[in-house]
Symmetry: C2
């Protein structure tokens, strides 16, 4: 159940008349971000509780249902203005006794947070609430709903608790005990979800599910919106297997670019193709062999290398990652490498006759693709991906393209190609030795 009935008045200034769930953050609405997180955790059926601007919000969710291949049902909370408890109560008839997850349309969550609370199925008469014990990581501590826990149970809940040890993440795993509690609160003219949960907590019926370490944020103010944006962009670089140039130059540039690209209708595969075409243009200019065209060519090739990071980033920002995109990207990168090596060699050989330039260019290009080949082969032979060690970083595409670009800037693209080629071959030999040793271990 997703509560999407509130007005979101504190976000009015950035919404520009868009209903809050439809508000776009880096190319994807808050509503779609919530749905995709649940989908990734294996949840594909939703009940959305509507209230404020019900028609528009419903239409928005219906589009999401089509795009994301999930079932979304709706219920209208007539008295949503009373509070989010009243909204939740409106869904009671549609949900009966099945245990169900409950969250808000404006909470961004990681799929693994959802997987963790799914492990804590509540007993009959109880509910579970995901809580975060790391106070330093919680955004806007003032405004967050706080809980005090004891022995895995929540004993008190509220925004103004003096003594508290965890934050309410707004993700619940409920039985219909929630509705009974909300009805009791309702009779006392208390209409927030927190009021219902407090009723259950006092009876010791609320499990605290520890999800500390998972990223979540309640996007209800312009500040929270900005923070959510920052966190999403930061997540693009986290845990990536990047090379040295990628980490320090390409990624910082590409994430900035991706933040803009995500807001457009351009698809990740289109970005892949554009990056490839820029590479080919750069290679064409490098083939001319003049200093000026070489500089422009080198810069274009490096720009393409930066843009090459955007396809994956936009795909992740908009939950559009696909095997097809990854396949296209990998293969076109190999062709782009080949084109650049061929172009630089051609330009140099035009003014330096004899076979030597060609042999060097030949070996460099062979090294580039061999370096990709051996790590794949390593993975297949040993059953584990080749690690992102120094050898791997030194032979990665980001570095060799950067070296060639630098070479073009100082009118020495061919020498730069030779250096990149030699470096790559050395790294390949290192990978070969590592593969040999690893295979020897597998034989035992």
């Amino acid at each position: 159940m997703i509560l999407a009935a509130g007005e979101g008045s504190r976000l009015k200034q950035i919404r520009n008349g868009t209903p809050k769930p439809a508000l776009k953050l880096l190319g994807l609405s808050l509503a779609e971000r919530t749905i995709t997180s649940f989908s990734a955790a294996g949840i594909h059926r939703f009940l959305v509780v509507l209230g404020h601007e019900a028609g528009q919000v419903r239409a928005h969710y219906e589009q999401i249902a089509i795009r994301r291949h999930c079932d979304i049902d709706f219920v209208i909370a007539e008295d949503w203005k009373l509070g989010n408890g009243a909204s939740a109560l409106a869904a009671a008839a549609k949900l009966d006794s099945v245990p169900f997850l409950l969250t808000m349309s404006d909470h961004l969550l990681t799929p693994s947070l959802i997987e963790r609370i799914l492990q804590a199925r509540p007993e009959q008469g109880e509910i579970s609430l995901a809580v975060d014990r790391d106070k330093t990581e919680v955004f806007d501590v003032e405004d967050v709903t706080k809980v005090a826990t004891s022995d895995g149970r929540i004993v008190s809940i509220g925004k103004n608790l003096e003594v508290w040890d965890a934050a309410d993440t707004g993700v619940f795993f409920c039985t219909d005990a929630l509705f009974s509690a909300l009805r009791r609160a309702h009779e006392q003219a208390k209409h927030s979800l927190t009021d219902g949960v407090r009723d259950l907590a006092e009876a010791g019926k609320v499990n605290a599910v520890d999800v500390t370490g998972e990223d979540w944020i309640d996007v209800d103010t312009p500040e929270a919106f900005g923070e959510a944006r920052r966190r999403l962009l930061a997540s693009l670089t986290k845990g990536r297997e990047d090379g040295y140039i990628s980490l320090r130059l390409n990624r910082p540039l590409s994430t900035r670019l991706s933040a803009h690209l995500a807001a457009t209708r351009i698809t990740p595969n289109q970005i892949t193709v554009i990056s490839f075409l820029i590479s080919l243009t750069g290679a064409g200019l490098l083939a001319v062999g003049m200093f000026a065209t070489g500089v422009v060519g080198g810069l274009l090739v490096q720009a393409a290398s930066v843009i090459d990071g955007c396809d994956g980033e936009v795909a992740r920002l908009k939950h559009l990652s696909s095997p097809r995109g990854a396949w296209l990207d990998t293969v076109l990168d190999r062709y782009a490498d080949m084109a650049v090596a061929l172009a630089v060699t051609y330009a140099y050989a035009s003014v330096h006759p004899g076979p030597l330039p060609w042999i060097i260019g030949f070996l460099a290009a062979f090294g580039f693709i061999l370096s990709s080949y051996v790590t794949k082969e390593f993975g297949i032979r040993t059953g584990e991906p080749y690690p992102n060690d120094v050898l791997n970083r030194l032979k990665r595409r980001d570095l060799r393209i950067f070296i060639i670009c630098l070479g073009a800037l100082v009118a020495r693209p061919f020498e730069a190609l030779a250096i990149a080629g030699a470096l790559t071959h050395l790294c390949v030999i290192g990978v070969l030795i590592r593969g040999w040793k690893r295979s020897a271990i597998l034989e035992r």
Copy 2:
């Protein structure tokens, strides 16, 4: 339990004084072939029953134990001359009641045959016998021990049965019921294993385990020895993912060569390196650019392509396949391809100035390695190996090397390289399209 007590008198003429278990068949003794099959099926502890030439046979098994990392214990059957039942009985004290597998040192079996009988653990008081119902596939039907079965039980057993429906493969899964039966037979002065099994069969205590379709052979005559050799060599090509040239030219030649190489002490990795060095020598001769050297070079490169099949074949014949060997082979093949493409291009470019020959050679070499790369990438991205379809066969190494060799024979190695390169690129494009389509299916 492995019965290795008999004399093997019918093999005397080809044994030349070697005890039968130590008799080498394509580089590996009969005893070692039995042990490696059981090891592959997960059995690593053996009890070998000795009799005839006990000291020599024991020494041979002790070497196997070291090479194959298994435990081999021994027992001497003093009255082995009475029959193989008497030999088996000698092991009774060492085996007690544990269910155990029983076979003969001269039976060659597939690991999957052993896995199938392992599924048929006998009840207390019973034994299981692996039987083959395909009479047409049984070698030497006259001499084989026959069984008649009814409802999954063996009802009669013997070499001269008039009515029979399956052959005794000589692999048993036993309880100590076997020893009781052998003792009863012994008291009646019957000393063969078959006599004991007949005793149990009459009481309905012998399960027939159907292993039809598995390859097995009792190597007790020179004819059976020859047949075992033929079957082993035939198994080298069976189920392999070979290209067209490999299937019709390289494999037939390499298996003949492997049959000889297996009998030497040369290791599979040494064969890999020798093949690589022959390739490099061939490339060197092709680089000279004269017709005569080109012919020799082309033939050497093709010879190396044939020998390149021997490393894997010898490894399989001698149960020496290793991840390290596969790694070495794959990587050296890439370098050999590169050397050949570079050499042919160099020779042609020496007499045809200008960049065009180099560009063509560059593209061909890139195609060769890209063709290996895309099938690996396909496997990683889709989780299934790229199938051995027409595209894959047309882009395989056997064909491109053969084309270049043919080209060298007609003084057109460069043109042949260009054709092989173009063919490879077309196939790569086909694989790319297939990968794209396959990825699209994965997205659903």
